[in-house]
């Protein structure tokens, strides 16, 4: 039985990798044939970014069962540290893909550090309190970066929280992060390929974590904290593991996002962005990685598809959200789906049996 379950989990994971690869190859194929609109082409990297965000948040909300409302904060940390890293490495690392990889790594590490820092006090809380504190954290990050000035000159990095003049750079200095104006003039090095690679890595790490011993511990804590604690599980440790992993990937997604646009501002990563990612997760299903990936992709594309409705598009968008919620939670429809699946299964099994019987019959004769 255990073997069977492991087998099933493995298969599930492979379907996810397969889906991502199919997505990549279809897009590549369409792009090479010139059949992709420029709008859609420009959305490819953001789609991957939001998928990574959704997967990483699902680890906290779905698997670890903690409502986090500050996920965009980690994205922000990753975005700005990635921008600084990319600019600082401009001279020493000439290869753009390598620089991107390093920047993503640094973005991820810094976000993970932020995750540890936030996690220590936050993960001692539960439920609503945790949600409130993560929400506050997201806002704090936004405001801190809003008054952060980072410059780069021959002497190295300069950091100030007062003003651009307070950096005291020499004349060759370049302002990387200019307070509320954010990072402007970012060299764009993100590519669809790199986004897909990062997405696969995220899936690999998160899926393996979920199906590992630690993952089962995390889910046990989610299902019954007291029971889990009584069996000797270290609650804080396992919660921290999920939280920090999630923060690290959000940071990496942030770097990818920032290096795909020529300008990023701290205001972008506000409460609304956190909620947007949460919507992906909830719509796709708590704990359901594939669902949240699909939801992230669809909900990123949808507003652009609705552009022809002009000012009504926000309304249409929200109505579609409500419809999806109603339909996916409709018991009648769920029953119908269940029955359809059962039917297909029996038909398949039946035909399998009959072919087997035929083969057996053939062998006999």
């Amino acid at each position: 039985m255990k073997l069977l379950r492991n087998h099933r989990a493995g298969l599930d994971g492979f379907i996810n990798y397969g889906l991502v690869l199919v997505f990549y190859f279809i897009m590549q194929f369409l792009q090479n044939g010139g059949n992709l609109t420029s709008t859609f082409t420009s959305q490819l990297v953001p789609i991957c970014v939001y998928m990574i965000m959704a997967i990483s948040l699902n680890l906290v909300v779905g698997i670890s069962g903690e409502l986090s409302l500050g996920h965009a904060g980690f994205m922000s940390v990753g975005a700005f540290s990635g921008v600084v890293a990319s600019a600082s490495l401009m001279e020493s690392v000439s290869s753009a893909p390598l620089r991107l990889a390093l920047a993503i790594l640094i973005g991820g590490i810094v976000a993970a550090l932020a995750g540890v820092l936030i996690g220590i006090p936050v993960l001692r809380l539960n439920g609503d309190y945790l949600a409130i504190v993560t929400l506050a954290f997201g806002e704090i990050i936004k405001n801190v970066i809003n008054c952060l000035y980072v410059g780069l000159d021959n002497a190295g990095l300069h950091i100030s929280i007062k003003s651009a003049e307070a950096l005291g750079m020499d004349t060759a200095g370049k302002l990387l992060i200019n307070g509320p104006i954010g990072a402007a003039g970012v060299t764009r090095i993100s590519s669809f390929f790199s986004a897909i690679v990062l997405l696969l890595i995220t899936l690999f790490v998160v899926q393996n974590l979920i199906h590992s011993r630690s993952g089962r511990a995390i889910m046990a804590i989610r299902d019954n904290r007291i029971a889990a604690e009584s069996t000797g599980l270290n609650i804080i440790k396992y919660k921290m593991m999920a939280f920090v992993t999630s923060a690290a990937f959000a940071g990496m997604a942030g770097t990818l996002y920032a290096l795909n646009l020529s300008t990023v501002v701290a205001k972008k990563f506000d409460f609304n962005t956190s909620i947007l990612v949460l919507v992906f997760v909830v719509l796709g299903g708590l704990g359901n990685l594939r669902g949240s990936m699909i939801a992230a992709a669809l909900l990123t594309i949808l507003p652009e598809l609705l552009r022809e409705y002009q000012e009504y598009r926000m309304l249409v968008y929200s109505i579609i959200l409500i419809l999806v919620m109603l339909i996916t939670n409709n018991d009648t429809l769920k029953d119908m789906k269940q029955r359809a699946v059962m039917k297909i299964k029996t038909v398949l099994n039946g035909s399998n049996k009959s072919t087997k019987a035929k083969q057996a019959g053939g062998a006999e004769s």
């Binding site: 609109t37 405001n143 509320p180 104006i181 409705y309 109505i319």
Partner: protein, 395 residues
């Protein structure tokens, strides 16, 4: 069972609403059907039409639409305009999508973006694609910096700050100045930085410098108290009109009566609901557009704007949008070429050539005889108004 029924009903209702809304979309202004042999120019527009900055984007769009309507209604005109506005939600990511949408739909030039941050995101793409951009109101000098295809019709932030300091000095309005600005806003900060530098150069004394971090801020007594105790005679506030109105009100409440000086963001202060207009008497602002202006062009524009949009008074953003359309139209007409068949790249080169030429000048609502430098910055006269008897009076 009843429960189930109502749920299905809800689903149906939501569905029908969805279709009903889908039916009434699309307000792209198509070129008139009967345009005979007139050429069609496809102009895109990017601005925030929803979200927190929608007020500015919507105004600019409406202004531009008035210009498009006028041009398309001209009986002797040779060129009609197909206007395609797209929403960027004041967000760089969405602005890039909006731009790509316009590109997909065959826009030949873009008016936008209305706000600075989206503009900074779109400009590199437009530069790479060779798409001409004329922004009505993205005032940061970074927008045009290093890009030959991006032009501004508004003053850049440093120009506004420099000119304000110069004006205060020239008119000897005050010797001790307080500065209150929003340090989380690129526009406000850009002007304030330039103002400080120029004031130091001119020997204007800035006795108090205080900031706030959001246009939703409600209490400015700390900033005002600081200015008051340090004896400032004039408060320079390069901020938007909502916080400005609160500052003026709260200064009156603490019986502190300095002079107030603002920039174009303060235009609209007289239209705020519930604001006692008598408090704004004597407030000075440097803005390129005056809706109370008595010249024919302004009168005509304000009239058509009011008629089309329920008696609303057009703001400076609307005038900027209006001027953008006419500037491109005039440049296209001046070239004498048939622009309708032109690709965006060819049109871009034509526009760059025309705009940066010494002979091309444009007179619109926001300035007379505007000319453009090769870098895309506009040169025009600054105008300062004082609020007298509830209207703008030129100073």
């Amino acid at each position: 069972m009843k429960m189930k029924k109502s749920r299905i009903l809800a689903l149906l209702l939501a569905l029908s609403m969805c279709f009903a809304l889908a039916a009434c979309g699309g307000d792209k202004t198509p070129a008139p059907e009967t345009n005979g042999d007139k050429a069609v120019l496809k102009l895109g527009f990017i601005g925030p039409l929803t979200g927190g900055a929608a007020l500015y984007g919507e105004s600019a769009k409406r202004g531009a639409e008035i210009a498009v309507d006028e041009i398309n209604a001209m009986t002797d005109g040779k060129l009609t305009i197909e206007f395609n506005p797209q929403d960027d939600e004041h967000d760089s990511e969405k602005a890039v999508y909006a731009y790509q949408q316009l590109k997909d739909q065959g826009a030949q030039a873009v008016i936008g973006c209305v706000t600075t941050t989206p503009c900074l995101a779109v400009a590199p793409d437009a530069n790479a694609d060779r798409m001409f951009m004329l922004t009505p109101s993205a005032t940061s000098p970074k927008v045009t910096e290093g890009r030959d295809n991006v032009y501004q019709i508004c003053f850049s932030d440093p120009t506004m700050g420099n000119e304000s300091a110069q004006f205060i000095k020239d008119k000897a309005l005050a010797s001790k100045v307080a500065l209150i600005y929003n340090n989380a806003d690129a526009y406000s900060q850009g002007i304030a930085t330039a103002f400080k530098a120029k004031a130091a150069e001119l020997g204007l004394q800035i006795v108090s410098e205080t900031t706030f971090a959001s246009d939703d801020e409600k209490d400015f007594t700390v900033q005002l108290q600081d200015a008051k105790t340090k004896g400032a005679e004039l408060i320079f506030m390069p901020i938007y009109y909502n916080p400005a109105s609160l500052i003026i009100k709260q200064a009156a409440d603490m019986s502190y009566a300095p002079k107030f000086f603002g920039c174009d963001g303060m235009d609209g202060i007289l239209g705020i609901e519930g604001f006692d207009k008598t408090l704004a008497e004597g407030v000075m602002l440097m803005t390129p557009f005056n809706a109370d202006g008595q010249d024919d062009a302004t009168k005509k524009f304000v009239e058509s704007y009011k008629a089309k949009y329920n008696g609303e008074i057009p703001s400076q953003f609307a005038a900027d949008g209006y001027d953008c359309v006419y500037a491109i139209y005039n440049a296209a007409m001046a070239s004498g070429e048939d622009v309708s068949k032109m690709s965006a790249a060819d049109f871009c080169e034509l526009m760059i050539k025309t705009f940066s030429s010494d002979t091309f000048t444009f007179s619109g609502l926001t300035g007379e005889n505007m000319t453009w430098s090769k870098t895309g910055e506009v040169a025009k006269n600054t105008t300062v108004f004082e609020i007298k008897g509830g209207v703008y009076a030129p100073m």
